[in-house]
């Protein structure tokens, strides 16, 4: 199940299965309330998304939501705060965590691109995009938010 989560896009609800089956060694932990809350918000966005001329196209494709689920399933930190999951015009999804003066935002766009932004004291931090160089890229972002990584 874990190999599946890391190699192919998950289908709807498979991220939940990853958690349920997480007695497997190395699997994401079961007790991650923030992830359950994020998935519930994501489901609401999927159901409510509309094309709203004058405001934006807020419809989210199955591929985009699956991509977001796949990323969330990889973030095996139990005690992160509950993120806010918000639509991005053009069919994307933004997942934002805030803690003290830090914010971490993962933007999953409809074309598959993912942008991770770290904000501290309302300023976006300048840093190289190391996605692809480290398979812990997203987890490290969450660790940074929690003050566990530089």
């Amino acid at each position: 199940m874990i190999a599946l989560a890391q190699s192919v896009p998950l289908q709807m609800d498979q991220a939940w299965q990853v958690q349920i089956s997480s007695t497997v060694e190395g699997a994401p932990p079961v007790n991650a309330p923030w992830r359950y809350a994020a998935l519930a918000q994501l489901r609401t966005l999927e159901e409510s998304g509309q094309n709203r001329p004058g405001q934006g196209d807020l419809r989210i494709s199955d591929a985009t939501s699956s991509h977001a689920r796949q990323i969330l399933a990889q973030m095996d930190i139990t005690d992160a705060p509950t993120p806010e999951v918000v639509p991005i015009s053009g069919g994307g999804i933004a997942i934002s965590w805030s803690m003290a003066n830090r914010e971490l935002q993962l933007s999953v766009f409809a074309d598959g691109e993912v942008v991770l932004l770290k904000t501290q004291d309302q300023a976006i931090l300048e840093e190289p995009d190391e996605r692809g160089l480290r398979n812990t890229y997203y987890i490290d972002g969450l660790k940074w938010l929690l003050g566990r990584a530089g």
């Binding site: 934006g56 991005i88 053009g90």
Partner: protein, 139 residues
């Protein structure tokens, strides 16, 4: 999609309004509300619809997007953040009762990487003078 051309007939002090979805706002340290970067980002078209600020258009936005918050900002705020402003009457929402030439889009002059677009949205959202309008009396 970009490229867009800035319309010099839009005065830098012209107020523009845009309807925001829930989640496209943030709170300043002083407790007032402002848009966040997502309010001005479209991952597909890179264009965000706005309208010339007047009573008719404001009423129309409130009618078309009931319950949604509306932000107001000067055209120069958008330009200072790197956006250009172009009239797009042809993309005016169906059912809009007002002058379609009052429908504008803001976006980059040329297509930008998404990270750069998010930064532009951030710069506009953090502009001190940008505001969220209070709800209408009947909302």
């Amino acid at each position: 999609m970009p490229p867009l051309q800035d319309d010099a007939t839009i005065d830098p002090d012209q107020s523009l309004i845009r309807a925001l979805r829930p989640g496209w706002t943030a709170t300043r340290e002083d407790g007032t509300e402002r848009p966040n970067r997502l309010a001005f980002v479209d991952g597909r078209t890179q264009e965000a619809s706005c309208f010339i600020d007047n009573d008719t258009n404001l009423a129309e936005l409130r009618r078309l997007f009931p319950g949604d918050k509306i932000c107001r900002f000067a055209a120069r705020f958008a330009r200072d953040a790197g956006f250009v402003i172009q009239r797009k009457p042809g993309d005016c929402p169906p059912g809009f009762v007002g002058d379609p030439v009052h429908h504008l889009v803001i976006g980059p002059a040329e297509e930008k990487p998404k990270k750069a677009l998010l930064r532009m949205g951030d710069a506009l959202a953090l502009t001190p003078g940008i505001e969220i309008l209070p709800p209408a009396a009947d909302e």
